[in-house]
Point group: C2
Chain length 199, copies 2
Amino acid sequence: MSQYYRSLNRLIDNGVDTISSEKLAHIENITSAQVRKDLSFFGSFGKRGLGYNTLKLKDQIGEILGLDKKWHVGLVGAGNIGRALTDYNEFKKQGFFIDVVFDADPAKIGTQCNNIPILSVAEADKYSHKNKLDIMIIAVPASAAQQVCNTFMDLGVKAFLNFAPISLQVKDDVVVKNENMSVEIESLSFFLHNKNGND
Amino acid sequence: MSQYYRSLNRLIDNGVDTISSEKLAHIENITSAQVRKDLSFFGSFGKRGLGYNTLKLKDQIGEILGLDKKWHVGLVGAGNIGRALTDYNEFKKQGFFIDVVFDADPAKIGTQCNNIPILSVAEADKYSHKNKLDIMIIAVPASAAQQVCNTFMDLGVKAFLNFAPISLQVKDDVVVKNENMSVEIESLSFFLHNKNGND
DNA sequence: AATTGTGAACCTCTTCACAGCT
DNA sequence: AGCTGTGAAGAGGTTCACAATT
């Protein structure tokens, strides 16, 4: 869904105002039936014989994904990944602005990261009572990730984006999405390894 | 598989030398049958009545994933994400070292990024004739990603890790893994949006 | 007694194919 | 005529349950 949204934005920028499931499928490297199934699950957005209106479809998907809302995002871990994320344009473009950064390093606390204040994790409690925190991004080492997650779960955060390379244990009403770059590069390693083995 | 590998490393560090599919499943938040199916696909690594030897299993998975080999990785795009990746410890730990960075910005060319030289994309041809490039990481804007991908495909690169938020079109013998952080955060947005709607 | 490895059942996601709109 | 929306068929992946093994 998210991927359709992005492709539609690009199509709109290029002045395309109508698109068929066939063409959209080609862009996404999937089948046209898949596109129609995905979209029809949420409603009837297309016109038979014509296709989908790019602008209308984009808005409808945006609404489904809740992109019309502004979510308050916090980040834990002002390391390499954390710093990159505070200035990541794709997040900003979709309306995900990072309000606050938490870190454990006393040298960093009180400073800023791309104009976002860095607080101590101990201040999270106080912060969360004054400010909304819808989504927390965890960009700390694996050894600290579960503890950090627990801290913010206890403060009522229901959605986590986890960059630490472990599987977090969470309550039933909490959702975690993992962003594990090592997993992906290792699957490339697997592919190359096997390809060469069969040559 | 990759996730098992990481968990096994942590178990070994903690002095655990044997583990059952049940316990490993618990760590990964999956079922024990799933663990056994995954592992048995590649061979019989366990001992009935006992479980799996952590050290042996780790080595066997490492071999399957090709982690005993050293892969030569190149990076295109010395932006926020690119810079973070050149110093990303998880890659280094698994043996993925970035040898070279390519960028289009004349101001960056000739400089270094965490001690890795930054070359112009025009020099990629020359570079690739003298050095191996097994995996290319694409960390450029969406508008440039396909072109960059084509350039390196033509130079014979068969594996890409793509951080640009588009679906790359590649030849049949080439594999692309996408690392699209916006997709994940948007799925969190979707979750929160719907949860609140049903409250 | 404990735990693996695996056929069979089950479930979920994908593709096919075509009726029904525009 | 062209393209969507969707039931039915098919493929792929997950779980069950138990014989085999240590």
